[in-house]
Amino acid sequence: MLPDVRDRLPGMAPKSASMKGFYRQKKSTKSTASKNVSTKKSPNLPMPYDSDITQPAALISHGSLDLKDSYKEDEQILGRFDMNMAYGPCLGMSRQARWERALKLGLNPPEEIESILKRGKVGSVCLWEGRV
């Protein structure tokens, strides 16, 4: 849970139901490094372990903030597959090729990874491709 900002700043607006009213910020479609990503989710929910606050700013540098939650979950699952050292290095090959290699070497990669990759709308290469 985020520490309650209203408690730290004396004499501010009375407690309102959502942070939105407090900050009154408009969503800009061309924000380059928007630090205030917390407006995406209602703060009344407990912050999930991999919250959006930890996402690097570059991910949303190209335009609108991504609101499709199911897409995000798929990316997170694939991200964990990328980082899992048991399946070998992730750089330099597509996720599909890496999954097939894991299958070929007998490492039993989870089948849900392949189904997510087949569904499409996810990155074909790992997060670090082209950046490292």
């Binding site: 050292m85 070998g88 290095p89 750089l91 330099g92 090959m93 597509s94 090729a97 070929k104 070497l105």
Partner: protein, 442 residues
């Protein structure tokens, strides 16, 4: 001396043998380079060999747990499987040019980079740990070998090795039953056609003997038992000095292509008589990194017209009448020589078989294609004949494995320097030399 009968009534037919190429793992046409690094090939190598090790470790040390390097606990004995890395002080590094000290590191010998301060490190995907203890001698091992080690982590942070296990020779298919027919495969390497010091008379003698144009009936009968010829690398020597020139005149172009044309003419004579495999070597016009692609058929316009002519990759693997041959043009053993020591070249070859890997130093010090999902140099099944070309002298030994495997190890010498070719009998794995000498006595 009896006159040679020119019109001999009996024709001596050449013996035939069934040939099967097993070069598919060494082809890189289907692989596309996507910017990957060498970590992929090391990861594939470790996974494949570690799976094998995990099946051997329970019989070797049944009472000890197996863990990965990050899971090691100080003081507790366990078995770890990983890839060795040898830290060598004298190993040439491109970063030495940029080092600020500018001190000249004295190199004792330019062809061997060993030093008494070399030490071994074991690595897997979780971490690495320095190896201590006196069991593993750094002069024997090289970077890239996968081993299983029993030991414990000391408080100094290194792993004290108590026992070590190599993968061992791969399983071998039974040799076909002795048919009673002696059939020979001739191995030559290092023709170096185009080199000023090479003697074309000796290679012509070789060709004439193999194709049966020399000698009397008895000698021709022996030549008729030769079923196959393999040329293991470095067949041509292109004058490199010309390529460094700024402007090439038309005479330069013809001088560049002369050695290849001469080789083509020689190969045409051979291909007309028997099947022939030509492998590329370190000096041949093909790619540098292993596995080397077969020499292009355009280089051999007249011999490639024969279906007996076969251009093969390096390393090369094939079967003649069920006898499996595996060989390289020498780069793997030459690299092992630079980074480790053994009493003779055959011992290096034995080690590569025991480590089940043709070229463990690839890609560390030996150029290699960055494969992503496989390591083609892993030896899956044990060959019956294992040959290495371009060596200084002819050596051979029959190696016996722990499960009854029998391998004929052959070091094929450079023909242009020694005039020696090797004949292997596929019936009983016996090995002989054919020596040609055409020097003029002064």
């Amino acid at each position: 001396m009896a006159a040679m009968e020119i019109d001999s009534p009996t024709k001596i037919p050449r013996k035939q043998a069934a040939y099967r190429s097993l070069d598919e793992p060494f082809e890189i046409q289907k692989d596309i380079y996507r910017g990957q690094q060498y970590s992929q090939i090391y990861s594939a190598r470790l996974h494949l060999l570690r799976t094998l090790m995990h099946s051997l470790v329970p019989t070797w040390k049944p009472h000890f747990p197996v863990c990965n390097i990050l899971g090691l606990e100080e003081g507790s004995e366990c078995v770890v499987v990983g890839t060795l890395y040898k830290h060598m002080e004298l190993k040439p590094s491109v970063l030495d040019e940029y080092s600020k000290e500018r001190s000249v590191i004295p190199i004792a010998r330019p062809d061997n980079f060993m030093h008494e301060s070399d030490y071994l490190v074991l690595e897997d995907e979780s971490g690495r740990i320095k190896l201590g203890g006196s069991l593993l001698s750094p002069s024997v091992y090289v970077t890239g070998v996968v081993v299983a080690l029993l030991g414990r982590e000391t408080d100094a942070g290194d792993f004290h090795v108590e026992d070590a296990l190599e993968v061992g020779l791969p399983p071998q298919l039974e040799m076909p039953l002795k048919s009673g027919e002696d059939k020979y495969v001739v191995l030559i390497s290092g023709l170096h056609v185009g080199r000023a010091a090479s003697n074309p008379l000796e290679s012509q003698l070789l060709i004439d003997h193999i194709t049966g144009h020399l000698g009397d009936q008895q000698v021709q009968g022996m030549a008729a038992q030769i079923v196959h010829l393999v040329i293991a690398g470095n067949s041509v020597e292109i004058p490199r000095g010309i390529l460094n020139k700024q402007n090439l005149a038309s005479t330069d172009y013809s001088r560049l292509s002369e050695p290849i044309k001469e080789l083509d003419m020689m190969l045409t004579e051979i291909a007309a008589g028997l099947t022939l495999d030509i492998m590329p070597g370190s000096n041949d016009p093909t790619n540098f990194s292993l596995p080397q692609k077969p020499l292009n058929r355009c280089l051999f316009p007249s011999s490639a017209a024969y279906n007996t002519f076969r251009s093969c990759p390096n390393p090369h693997c094939f079967e003649i009448d069920g006898v499996k041959f595996l060989g390289t043009s020498g780069q793997n053993i030459h690299d092992l020589e630079k980074y480790s020591e053994a009493k003779d070249k055959l011992e290096f070859m034995e080690r590569t078989l025991k480590w089940r890997h043709l070229a463990p130093t690839a890609p560390n010090t030996l150029g290699c294609y960055p494969f992503t999902d496989r390591d083609p140099f892993l030896i899956e099944s044990c060959p019956h004949v294992y040959f290495v070309g371009n060596q200084d002298k002819y050596e051979t030994r029959l190696m016996k494995g722990s499960e009854g495997q029998l391998v004929r190890l052959i070091c094929v010498p450079k023909f242009c320097e020694t005039g020696v070719a090797v004949m292997v009998n596929t019936n009983n794995l016996e090995c002989r030399t054919l020596s040609f000498n055409a020097s003029f006595s002064s």
